[in-house]
């Protein structure tokens, strides 16, 4: 291969290897807290999972726990606010889950989403499917949660994430 041919290949590659990350934050933690629990006061109560708890959550939900530390807030008058992240097609998806005092889902909010397709997971109708779900709910794509065209991976990972957080509530939060 000649030098000019190598230059021809190297030129566009050099432009590709230094891409800028496209970061979009739809909601800050404070905004997500106010969206899910308007008018309530929240107190940070970060949780660190013991190995046995981690294992119990994985067994109960069938979903792998990626982080031992979980960002949790206790809500005045009962309830919990949890910020979590799941793997997206290319980047992590950050989302928040509000739980009622009885451990059922009050609301979920997508805080960061950077994927090509499937921005519809931020739509109220898709998120509303999670309202009232408990650790006893199936939380399976195409069963009790509808899929979104072109965003199957994101939909499945958010669904798995909520299932894992409901198991986390049962095992780590319920009796605290």
């Amino acid at each position: 291969m000649t030098k000019s041919e190598f230059a021809f290949i190297a030129l566009p590659i050099s432009a590709l290897v230094a891409p800028s990350t496209f970061a979009v934050q739809y909601l800050t933690v404070d905004q997500a807290q106010r969206a899910i629990f308007p008018g309530k006061s929240l107190t940070a109560a970060p949780a660190k999972l013991a190995p046995a708890q981690r294992k119990a959550i994985e067994q109960a939900s069938g979903v792998r726990v990626l982080h031992d530390e979980q960002q949790v807030w206790r809500v005045s008058g009962g309830g919990w606010f949890i910020v979590d992240e799941v793997v997206g097609k290319h980047e992590f998806i950050t989302y928040a889950v509000g739980l009622n005092a009885n451990g059922s889902v009050k609301q979920i909010e997508v805080m960061d989403y950077r994927e090509t397709y499937g921005g519809e997971i931020r739509n109220e109708n898709w998120r509303a499917q999670f309202v009232g779900k408990t650790s006893q709910s199936p939380l399976k794509l195409d069963r009790d949660i509808k899929n979104i065209s072109g965003a199957t991976l994101s939909c499945r990972h958010i669904t798995d994430g909520v299932k894992r957080l409901l198991a986390f509530y049962e095992i780590a939060l319920k009796r605290s």
């Binding site: 566009p12 990350t21 290319h90 090509t116 065209s149 199957t152 991976l153």
Partner: protein, 309 residues
């Protein structure tokens, strides 16, 4: 004159890639050679630019740069069609063994001439050959039966006819995909069969068959970036029935996926474990365990860039 046109053409492609790379946001095909079962969603489209340099044979000089521009469209979430253009630039000089005029099935020791699959019929083999050629237009359709995100394994069927002035072909593929570790570790396998119809000097069409399989494994090691390994095994059948050879290739692949564009680059090197099964291939293609002749080169690089819309 021809070289100036080629240089301008290559410069235009490079500049267009640079412009697109610097203005587009960030998205996907995590392998350079192996297909996954991921498709363009319903109502969405994608433009892909492929550039594949391949070079080095047994002797002399042989280098080709294949170009492909592809337009994909999702008819449904599980059915995608695509139209693409295939063209290439080739330079060859003293790259293939010369047949013994007394025994045409045997080669003359240490004597070479200019030839190969991409050298035009009728070219004087005693002189170097350099030319750009528009090869063919292809139509691709992929139907996904199982999604790897919902079923234990992804499965899709692929069909592609291509029509060109020197060669036309029909290609079928079975695509398999299995994901692990929250879909960050991806394995894919493609089993392909291809019928090629090549135009001969006398105006006749020669039929060849190709059976090949590609496999790759890739891991998303940090956000947006995946890296992996690909393997390719190619079997050629003269007249689609006589097994001529089997060649093996392996190499790394790296992928960047962003929100609106993605890029993958892969390198394959032929392994010295090829096998020639008929006398022609043993004499003219096989060399120290490599398969060259009209079919293969030692090194392959492929850059794919995709833009979603």
């Amino acid at each position: 004159m021809l070289c100036i046109v080629c240089m301008k053409f290559r410069l235009a492609i490079a500049v267009s890639l640079l412009i697109c790379a610097s203005t587009a946001q960030s998205h996907e095909a995590i392998f350079a050679w192996t297909y996954t079962t991921d498709l363009t969603p319903k109502g969405h489209g994608e433009f892909e630019q492929w550039i594949t340099p391949r070079w080095e044979k047994e002797h002399g000089s042989y280098s080709v740069i294949d170009f492909r521009e592809e337009f994909e469209y999702g008819i449904t979430d599980d059915f995608q069609i695509a139209l693409y253009l295939n063209h290439h630039y080739v330079y060859a000089n003293d790259d293939i063994p010369v047949a013994n005029p007394v025994h045409p099935k045997r080669r003359l020791p240490s004597v070479y001439e200019t030839g190969g699959e991409d050298v035009h019929a009728g070219h004087n083999p005693a002189t170097p050959f350099g030319s750009y050629h528009f090869e063919s237009v292809s139509f691709e359709s992929i139907y996904r039966l199982l999604s790897p995100y919902k079923a234990p394994i992804g499965l899709a069927l692929y069909f592609e006819p291509s029509v060109g002035d020197q060669e036309s072909e029909l290609e079928w593929k079975i695509l398999l995909q299995k994901n692990w570790l929250e879909d960050r570790l991806v394995w894919a396998l493609n089993v392909n069969y291809e019928l090629e119809f090549e135009k001969e000097e006398e105006g006749e069409w020669e039929r060849d068959g190709v059976f090949e399989w590609f496999t790759g494994i890739s891991y998303r090691f940090i956000r947006n970036w995946s890296a992996g390994l690909e393997f390719w095994n190619h079997h050629e059948f003269a007249d689609a029935t006589v097994h001529e050879h089997s060649a093996y290739f392996i190499g790394p692949t790296i992928h960047y996926g962003g929100q609106r564009w993605w890029a993958s680059i892969g390198f394959l090197r032929q392994l010295p474990t090829g096998q020639a099964f008929n006398q022609d291939n043993k004499e003219f293609a096989a060399h120290d365990g490599y398969i060259f002749g009209d079919e293969h080169e030692e090194y392959y690089v492929r850059l794919k860039v995709g833009f979603n819309f």
